[in-house]
């Protein structure tokens, strides 16, 4: 599934054995696509010597800090921006 800026997305909460670029603290969290980046070689297979193909789409996703950290004490409008690969995102529309 592909997304566009403004799409509401949830980071998959699955575990993953081995190298991956999805921060544990974002798994299961809902954010909004800020920007659609390019396609990139998949770091999850490249990390073990494969060529990383097929390439996978990368998205810049915006989260409310208060949604990420349950005890967040900072200003209400603080945001966290993270790059997340498409196969880690689910629609939350």
């Amino acid at each position: 599934m592909s997304f566009v800026p403004g799409s509401s997305v949830r980071v998959a909460s699955r575990s993953h054995a081995g190298h991956h670029r999805t921060p544990a603290y974002l798994k299961g969290k809902v954010g909004t696509v800020e920007h659609v980046r390019d396609n990139f070689l998949n770091p999850e297979t490249r990390a073990y010597g494969a060529d990383g193909r097929p390439e996978t789409r990368l998205y810049l996703v915006r989260f409310d800090q208060r949604d990420v950290w349950t005890d967040y004490q900072g200003p209400e409008d603080d945001r966290l921006l993270a790059d997340v690969y498409e196969h880690w995102l689910e629609s939350a529309e």
Binding site: H19, P23, Y25, P43, R46, A47, Y48, G49, G52
Partner: protein, 91 residues
């Protein structure tokens, strides 16, 4: 522990820049060269860093982690024999 900058603490973050030591610049150059020659890529480097025992990871500086991981990957690929670097340093 690899996907965040550290653990919650009351200690202020040290924002000071520091001068890189010669070996740190050399480490950077080695990793860059290995990448350009398709011997090792950034994802492999990161994977090997994440595979470090936790106490060693936390005790190591940024480029010490690069050194550890580079040695790990080169040994995996047979570019370095086990113990080869230690033997060369000792000789």
């Amino acid at each position: 522990m690899h996907d965040r900058g550290g653990w919650p603490s009351t200690t202020p973050i040290d924002r000071a820049e520091h001068v890189l030591a010669d070996w740190e610049m050399l480490m950077d150059a080695i990793v860059g060269t290995l990448g350009r020659r398709d011997v090792m890529n950034t994802d492999e480097l990161r994977r090997a860093i994440e595979g470090m025992p936790r106490d060693e990871y936390e005790a190591a500086s940024y480029y010490e982690r690069w050194l550890y991981a580079t040695e790990t990957i080169l040994a995996e690929k047979g570019v370095l024999a086990p113990g080869e670097l230690d033997a060369r340093v000792a000789s």
